[in-house]
Symmetry: C2
Subunit: 107 residues, 2 copies
Amino acid sequence: METSHTGDELARILATLANPHRMRVIAALAHGRNYVSALARELGISRPLLQLHLAKLEAAGLVTAAFELSADGKAMKYYDTVPFAVTLTPQSIALAARTLTTEEGNN
Amino acid sequence: METSHTGDELARILATLANPHRMRVIAALAHGRNYVSALARELGISRPLLQLHLAKLEAAGLVTAAFELSADGKAMKYYDTVPFAVTLTPQSIALAARTLTTEEGNN
DNA sequence: TTCACCTGCAAGAAAAAACTAGCATGTGCC
DNA sequence: GGCACATGCTAGTTTTTTCTTGCAGGTGAA
């Protein structure tokens, strides 16, 4: 299920996952999709903060968002996890590092 | 080769790997061990900066350091990669998230 | 209309990470 | 001694990330 990532993509994925709040978001969504207000209550964090983290997770391609109308006509934004599988080894890091574009330093 | 990590350990590993310089350090060391001054020249970064990154890599358990005397009696600090293999999936993240200690928010 | 729920956004404060510059130590060699 | 190489550390700046606060919009139901 995993296309190999560029160095920049991998760096972004790792940076995104390396955050307690975002790990908990992934954990919560792994149990099933949810909309942001309910998720904020479940995790005990403010909604703007959760939206920030969800935006980063979505930017990294780790979750997806979908609008849906609830039974009573409210617009709900549902988030769900994207199935991903990334294996980290010194070799996989070395391979990804070849495609890093981050400024000057090529090795 | 991988003992399962706590949430905090995993977060630290990911945060450590999510940096272009440190990815390049891993890549360089994957080819073979090296000492810090030579490594700094190879990567084209300042030695203090490299030392900072090496310290973080070592703190995360991704590289090891060993002192050695060169032929002409100079003390050299050699670094090498530690073989690691971490697989990231929504499920593995969810599992690790259970052991996060980062303050208040338990889900 | 008012209340309770959903969404979005942005400005500013606070905290953490990255990076630079500089000085210290020691060695062997010319 | 002076030069070239190795190491270590720290103080201060810059940059990035995180988080709060507060406001905007919308819906349906009492």
